[in-house]
Amino acid sequence: MAVTDLAPIHRGFAKKRFKAFAIPAGILLYLTYAFFAFDIPGLAQRFRSDNAMIMISGAWSYKTHVTQDNRRGTTVAIEGERRATYEDDDWPEWVARDGASTAIALPRDQSVRFDPDAVRVTVPDYGTITVTNTDGVEVQTPDGTLPAWITASNTRADIRLDGGRVSVTRARSEVFRYFPGWELFFFTLSSPFHDMSWGQIAASAVSSEQIRPGMSNIAAMASDFWNNDMWRHKDVVWALFETLLMAFLGTIGAALISFPLAFLAARNFMPVAPARFGIRRVFDFVRGVDALIWTIILSRAFGPGPMTGALAILITDTGSFGKLFSESLENIDEKQVDGLRSTGANALQRGRFGVIPQVAPVILSQVLYFLESNTRGATVIGAMVGGGIGLLLTQAIQTQKDWENVAYYIVLIVLLVMAMDSLSGWLRRKLIRGDS
């Protein structure tokens, strides 16, 4: 008897052993298929390591361009932007005018001179490289051969140094010097606070001597920071607010619309089966059409902007909420409703005092959960409909050079979503505890 009893157990073990082998093997097989379907072997060729380097170094550092142009003379500008050009009499201390020449100091005692006849690059332990561009670009190195860090052709020479880069073409010579950090994040060059150290800024904040007449120094600082036209802090805060607004309007609007409809889809409130069935299919349809398709349809009707984004969230979530709410309405305890009925309460009163107190905590906690996840979703929808921080983000990525702004926006988005996460978690805990 004992022997016959053991057979199913053995079979069970064999089945388990087979599963323990078959599941990882299946996953491995699928990943192998995906490896070729996604063309991972070809990825190595497509991978643009230069782009990746630009992106990564752009996110945490910046470069200052010193440009000698045949037409405009010598200019010093952060990232080569016109808005961030130094005044001619106010160059940084590592760029100096020396008669008709310009001397540029780079890290590790390397230096570059823009002389009238040529560009001379001095590298310690190597010598001086002379680049002339009067009649085609020509490079002369101390030993006559070109090392790997210099690329030269008839029209262009490119010299990579430790803390910078030199590029010479026929029309212009440029030196890029790299610095860590986000340039002009607080004050642009036009602000009087730009040249000050943190200590000086703190001192001038408390001193009564007004740098900008008619305005306290703190107000001047706040206004210079707020109106910083390189980082556009005002627009960024506004865009974050717009993103939150989209999530808020969409989520709350969806909750308000689907709550009454959920009664029509719940078995215990809607006795007419075909009507119930119809409403449920409407919810399913709205959810199945998906946020992507709704967003496209709504953008066609309402044009780009935050309202379109809010409506897209609203429609999609109406389907999800309708399903969730009607399920929680079906799970209520009927005893409370019966008790109210015995006192002669009408349908509205039964709903108000018998049903809503039971479902409110569940519904509120679901709404908060959706509000949180929609804050993140509103970034993606904003990128499609052109509203909020998603729009700024896609614009910054499309320039392919403002990676420091991209990094800034990402940090802000992550902080915003995490803040919403903690806020909604805190409120949810409070609601659930308050009612139990």
Binding site: F38, G288, V289, A301, P306
Partner: protein, 282 residues
């Protein structure tokens, strides 16, 4: 005596009603002004747009009916990009579940390999969860030049965070007795997790992973629209061709709709059977 009690009660009830009334009015005012603000920053207004809302679906449907014969052919042509979209979601869910699962074990009190690092892993999961997919996808497209990999990495990154959190909630309810038994016979940490915890949590993990897969298919289609390949990208192209060629767009809409419904149905059936199996065993 009873009169004063009743008076007090009624006064308190009135006050409460007044407070909730004021709150309600404030809330409605906030909603209305928020909507007004959103509308003022929108290209088109609400009412004028409302009358046009059925124009595009209408055009799409009339063209789809006129050229009903070409729809199956289009759907067949777009099948490979649909499969790519589903593959992106599936691989991302797989990686997200594997990495998120490992991280959830490391972030659960009582199970963690290095208890001191629990807050670190929790924060990491929070960050993964907070980053919107579109951010990573767009940055990687710049470095990798399109294709399904940027979208896959982006979705997987978010999935790690989302599933890691849910998984660690499941782990917290796991029975620790098998773990104690295994450690008494000298099992290593990975053996304790593999043999003691995973069999307990697997059905719930799988059910959450399936739900995530549904969400990821949608996300993958959206990322395609933003430029990461798959059916979303084809949809964007098909729409930009404009009137007269909307039959292609209509067939993509149909394909996407049917896929999402089918995946939702299949996964919810599978999830129900997992949960029922769970209850049956107890």
């Amino acid at each position: 005596m009873t009169d004063t009690i009743r008076e007090d009660y009624l006064a308190a009830a009135r006050r409460k009603r007044m407070y909730s009334g004021i709150l309600l009015i404030l809330f409605v005012a906030m909603l209305a002004s928020g909507f007004d603000l959103a509308q003022s920053r929108n290209a088109g207004g609400f009412l004028s747009g409302l009358s046009r809302i059925f124009d595009f679906p209408g055009e799409l449907l009339t063209e789809a009916f006129q050229k009903a014969g070409s729809i199956p052919g289009h759907m067949w042509n777009y099948l490979p990009s649909l499969i790519e979209t589903i593959n992106i979601a599936a691989v991302a869910t797989l990686f997200g579940a594997l990495i998120g699962g490992a991280m959830s074990l490391l972030a659960t009190r009582g199970l963690a390999r290095w208890p001191a690092l629990i807050p670190v892993f929790r924060r990491l999961l929070d960050i993964c969860r907070a980053v919107p997919e579109v951010v990573i996808a767009l940055a990687l497209i710049f470095a990798m030049g399109g294709g399904p990999v940027p979208a896959m990495v982006a979705i997987a990154f978010h999935t790690i965070g989302a599933l890691g959190k849910l998984f660690s909630e499941v782990n917290e309810n796991a029975d620790l007795k098998p773990v104690e038994g295994l450690s008494s016979v000298g099992a290593s940490w990975s053996q304790r997790m593999w043999l003691g915890i995973l069999p307990q949590v697997a059905p719930n993990w799988l059910s959450y992973a399936l739900l995530r897969f549904e969400i990821n298919v949608r996300a993958s289609a959206i990322l395609g629209f933003v430029g990461a390949g798959g059916i979303g990208y084809e949809l964007k192209n098909a729409i930009s061709w404009g009137q007269g060629r909307f039959d292609a767009a209509a067939s993509i809409f149909l394909l996407l709709f049917l896929t999402i419904i089918a995946i939702d149905q299949l996964s919810s059936r599978w999830r129900n059977s997992l949960i029922e199996g769970e209850h049956g065993r107890h």
